[in-house]
Symmetry: C2
Subunit: 132 residues, 2 copies
């Protein structure tokens, strides 16, 4: 039946994606672990670093980060807490909405990002290049 064939195609697509995702995520975690980061940490740093050019003052609201990163709100809150504890980001109250929190890379965070970014890009190149 055509329906079954289409279904089988979806299943294979999904299995392929699971495999590639797991392999890549695992490699990323290993590569970043030496720098004290996990893959989710890097996702957030990557977003923060790309947001502002060089002046480290505007940053993102937690909610904006939450829209772009695939974590629950609670997981993100704790992740930012860890980054802050390690001195990689600062948390500051939003002046315009005092419920909100603004997150900014510190100099240390920016430096670590600069160091780690090529590592992450290399893993992506190695894992995604052929098996796309």
């Amino acid at each position: 039946m055509a329906a079954t064939e289409a279904e089988q195609g979806l299943v294979e697509q999904w299995r392929g994606m699971l495999a590639l995702h797991a392999r890549t995520q695992c490699e990323l975690d290993r590569a970043l672990h030496g720098h004290g980061l996990c893959a989710s940490d890097f996702e957030v740093l990557d977003l923060l670093a790309e947001g502002v050019a060089a002046d480290g003052d505007c940053g993102y609201r937690v909610q904006e980060i939450s829209d772009r990163v695939h974590l629950s709100q609670s997981a993100l809150s704790r992740l930012i807490g860890r980054l802050e504890k390690d001195g990689l980001v600062d948390r500051a109250m939003c002046p315009e909405d005092r419920r909100g929190v603004r997150v900014v890379l510190t100099a240390k965070g920016r430096a670590l990002y600069g160091q780690v970014r090529p590592v992450q890009r290399a893993v992506l190149a190695r894992m995604l290049a052929d098996a796309g």
Copy 2:
């Protein structure tokens, strides 16, 4: 530069994959949760069910499952333990290598799989159809 462009392409490919994977995995977990399963549980059941046709006697070695499922050996061991506790699989010693363990679907496990499989397929169809 061409190198930077290629790199940017990889980054976008990876972000797209992260997004699609996270959305789908999350939907799967939600859909299966009502049946007492998580997405990893289903992966294992799916493999076990496809392995043998109807006679439930040969099953898989844990190591064979480990090759096909993207979990650490310890996580898989515990997952099988949970399935066993819920009466969905049986664990039996391998006659030919008594270090090994053979895992087989029980009748209950096969019944649950039959019930849950269309649910999982529907989620895949819904999530992967357009954004492939």
